[in-house]
């Protein structure tokens, strides 16, 4: 079975990454393209979850990545089809939907025949969905049953400890005890909407290549932080577009990837993957340090904020892991270490959300007639 994950990884995710690096980063040298592809493929979170914990995220993420490449290359119809496939493979890809929607909307509005394009896209999406759902479209009941299984609202606001705002808030205010479920669903829906609205509006009004990548990060991060029934593994959905930003914003992308992997450490430790976790992270750091030609001299050229960030990341990382192994939680708080991981990760994710949103607003909109991300 592990072979099936490996094969699907090789068949779908690897080509998607290479396509991204060749098509979207076409202005970089060949060796830099390969270096970035290497770094994206080596992200520890994906390797550990897909091949260690065992999941098939590579397929949905690969399809989503192919959709991203297609849309950035202005092959909107193809991109929509691929995204619908990714969505119908794993409903988690819904996290990307606002970004895709806004980008396509923005591009269509700026094109020559907006109504025609929007109609074409709409037809494509509906057709793809129909094709995927064909066996289940026999009656309303079967559709409802599928939806009920896919979106298990009954499971509660959150399960276990996850780096989510709701989990962090619940440390102090026991949300699940105070409010009833229907209300919580509505609250989380509204908060999620508010979280993703700025970036989506920005993207729809001023669509751009890099803006699209940032919007992907922002919308998935917004969903992760505020949505209902989020799993800690969903951070992988945010990690993918973050890793795509390695070419333009390497420092923050690397920090995000490291912290997102660390947020999953309790899960990996439970699976007995503590040593592979450490090794994958060390490998990733070595490769990144080498590919980006980082050395002690380069560190001195970092801005003050950069140095603060580096220090904060190191402190968080070591603090969390030291606490895990050496701090014995008091008897009345048996999950203290898990909570520590969740809360610290959540705080860092909120900070990243603010940062990436700010970065997206900083960009000026440019016409999307070219697909390549150009030299400045």
């Amino acid at each position: 079975m592990r072979a099936t994950v490996l094969v699907s990884d090789l068949l779908i995710f690897f080509p998607a990454v290479f396509l991204f690096c060749r098509q979207i980063l076409a202005d970089f040298t060949r060796s830099k393209q390969i270096a970035i592809a290497f770094m994206i493929l080596l992200q520890p979170g994906l390797i550990l979850i897909d091949h260690g914990h065992f999941q098939y995220n590579c397929i949905s993420l690969g399809l989503a990545l192919l959709a991203i490449v297609a849309v950035m290359r202005d092959w909107d119809i193809l991109g929509s089809v691929l995204f619908c496939l990714s969505l119908n493979y794993k409903q988690m890809s819904l996290y990307y939907a606002p970004a895709f929607f806004s980008f396509l909307l923005g591009k269509s509005l700026q094109s020559a025949h907006p109504v025609l394009r929007i109609a074409a896209l709409g037809v494509t999406v509906i057709a793809t969905f129909a094709l995927c759902w064909l066996p289940f479209l026999t009656s309303i009941d079967s559709v409802a049953q599928v939806l009920h299984r896919i979106f298990p609202i009954g499971r509660g606001l959150f399960e276990d400890k996850v780096a989510n705002v709701w989990c962090a808030v619940s440390v102090l205010i026991k949300l699940r005890a105070i409010f009833e479920q229907a209300l919580l669903v509505r609250i989380s829906a509204i908060c999620t909407l508010l979280a993703i609205l700025p970036s989506s509006v920005n993207l729809a009004l001023r669509p751009s290549q890099t803006g699209f990548l940032y919007a992907l990060v922002n919308s998935s991060l917004g969903f992760f932080l505020f949505s209902y029934q989020v799993h800690e593994k969903s951070i992988l959905l945010v990690a993918l577009p973050a890793s795509l930003l390695l070419a333009s914003d390497p420092l923050n992308a690397v920090f995000f990837l490291l912290l997102s992997t660390a947020s999953m450490f309790p899960l990996l430790h439970k699976d007995g993957l503590a040593i592979p976790y450490a090794i994958c992270i060390v490998f990733f750091v070595i490769v990144v340090l080498h590919m980006l030609n980082v050395s002690l001299q380069a560190c001195q050229h970092l801005t003050t904020i950069g140095k603060l960030q580096l220090a904060a990341v190191i402190v968080c990382f070591s603090g969390l892991h030291l606490a895990w192994y050496f701090y014995i939680p008091p008897a009345h708080l048996p999950h203290a270490n898990l909570l520590l991981f969740a809360v610290v990760s959540c705080a860092s994710f909120v900070l990243f959300a603010v940062y990436f949103n700010w970065r997206q607003w900083q960009l000026n909109g440019v016409p999307t007639s070219t697909h390549k991300l150009k030299h400045s």
């Binding site: 202005d27 830099k32 390969i34 290549q209 070595i286 050395s295 016409p367 991300l373 150009k374 400045s376």
Partner: protein, 499 residues
């Protein structure tokens, strides 16, 4: 239109530009075969600098340590992999050396895995057992057969990883003798070939053995000879023989070389690699006696305590178990494998062709997967002495050449050929012994393009022959990928070197 939009684009802040990547401010630490500019097209040259790597430190420069780090990480990933019976063998030896007095080390047989390495290895196990008892006291209880708690597994696997530092040290000592800038790439390649050797990964870190430290001592001995310290090299080899007597395969090469180069040298002080052929030199009796006394002292240190107990015979029978049969349970891919296969074919082909009648007692004597003395049916049974004669016969040519030209390159080649001849024609050869041929050949591979080609062929086929050692489905991808990536690495590195 695209150009104007691109100009407008250029005012946008964060497009995905190459210039947004941190520029290389200092040379990265990997050496380069030739100084090439930073924007090269081939991927291997990504790891080059804009300046020649003349600033790399001689011992343990950062590139070599990086290689060691990567190798260690891979080995740590192999911690939970398949372990063969050799794991229990070493646990048993830890127990024997720790819990029992010296005189019982070679007579103890509670477990079927009796001690059959020379005394120095026993002392090595004793040293490790001092740490083992702190990790898990149950390891060193002799009666705890098949004991494999997670602490035990971690401890033993880590012991192999930690002792591999000797291999690293040996490589470093050897490559330190390279001189000049252009040789830095060669020394880096040799480091990679040995530290990341796939054969060692498969045999040491999955199947479980201690070849890392043993080959480290071998490399130290070779390095000493390379630097001209023949006596030290000889003594180190004697130590090696007392660690694992399989290195007797290499003894003829050492014997001939040391005799000719050390005992006949006319006070030449140059390193072995520059020495011209020494003709008509005197026999320096002093050196000969020194070498002899040194080797004898090493052996005395090793065998002495057991001689005093009168256990010499027992020791020798443990070290040289000729009852084990011509071929191991897993046939090593050597000449006798072909011989036995031919025998099997002839058993059935003969009657069909009407040449001879079907023999009576045809059993799965050699293919049964068991270890034991067997006889061939159609072809003559091979006695141990025949294997020795054949082995020496095939070693003879290169030893003659070595006698006439006792230079360092010739010495290395003769080491490889002796190991190879013993592998092909020896008695009860394990397939793991191919590592003993491939590893020294890594040292030769960087000398000429032709040597590189032979090394590629030899290591590819040798590693392929090691694959059946690891037969569980869990390691299926792992073992194939390890072997494939190593062969690819060898190919790419040599191709860049011999461009």
């Amino acid at each position: 239109m695209s150009s104007s939009s691109s100009r407008a684009n250029s005012s946008a802040g964060a497009a995905l530009t190459p210039s947004s990547l941190p520029s290389p401010s200092s040379p990265s630490f990997l050496p380069t075969p030739a100084s090439s500019s930073s924007s090269s097209t081939s991927f291997s040259s990504t790891m080059t600098t804009t300046t020649t790597a003349s600033n790399a430190a001689p011992l343990g420069d950062s590139a070599s340590w990086a290689v060691l780090l990567v190798a260690t990480l891979v080995k740590l990933l192999l911690l939970p992999a398949y372990r063969s019976t050799d794991f229990e063998v070493h646990r048993n030896w830890l127990a024997i050396t720790h819990s029992l007095p010296l005189r019982q080390w070679y007579t103890e047989d509670t477990s079927q895995w009796t001690l059959d390495y020379p005394p120095f290895f026993a002392w090595f196990e004793w040293l490790m057992s001092q740490v083992a008892v702190l990790v898990d006291p149950a390891i060193v209880v002799v009666s705890n057969l098949e004991y494999a708690s997670s602490a035990t597994v971690t401890f033993q696997r880590l012991s192999v990883i930690v002792t591999d530092i000797v291999l690293f040290y040996g490589v470093q000592q050897y490559v330190n003798t390279f001189r000049g800038n252009k040789d830095l790439y060669k020394s880096f390649i040799v480091t990679i070939f040995i530290v990341l050797n796939a054969g060692l990964l498969l045999v040491d870190h999955i199947h479980f053995q201690y070849n890392g430290i043993l080959n480290g001592v071998l490399l130290l001995s070779i390095a000493a000879i390379q630097k001209g310290h023949d006596l030290i090299g000889g003594l180190l080899f004697a130590v090696l023989l007392n660690l694992k007597h399989i290195y007797l395969y290499l003894a003829p090469a050492y014997f001939v070389f040391l005799l000719r180069h050390y005992c006949f040298a006319a006070a030449s002080s140059g390193s072995g690699s520059d020495a011209a052929s020494v003709q008509r030199s005197r026999f320096v009796i002093g050196n000969f006696l020194r070498l002899g006394a040194g080797v004898a002292a090493v052996f005395a240190l090793s065998f002495g305590p057991f001689l005093l107990e009168g256990q010499l015979g027992q020791l020798l029978s443990r070290l040289f178990p000729f009852k084990r049969g011509l071929c191991h349970a897993y046939w090593a891919p050597n000449f006798w494998a072909l011989y036995s296969a031919l025998d099997k074919v002839l058993i059935y082909a003969g009657p069909r062709l009407g040449l001879w009648p079907m023999p009576e007692h045809v059993t799965a004597s050699m293919t049964g997967g068991l270890v034991g003395d067997v006889s061939h049916v159609v072809l003559p049974t091979v006695p141990p002495v025949a294997t020795m004669v054949l082995t020496l016969l095939f070693m003879l040519p290169i030893l003659v050449v070595l006698w006439r030209r006792p230079t360092m390159p010739m010495f290395l080649r003769s080491v490889v050929v002796c190991a190879y001849a013993s592998f092909l024609f020896g008695w009860h050869v394990h397939e793991k012994a191919i590592v003993m041929v491939v590893l020294p050949m890594s040292l030769i591979a960087v000398q000429h393009a032709n040597d590189g080609k032979w090394f590629l062929l030899l290591s590819a086929s040798g590693l392929y022959s090691l694959l059946p050692l690891i037969f569980e489905p869990r390691e299926f991808f792992v073992k194939h990928l390890i072997v494939l990536s190593y062969v690819l690495l060898v190919y790419c590195a040599l191709r860049v070197l011999f461009r």
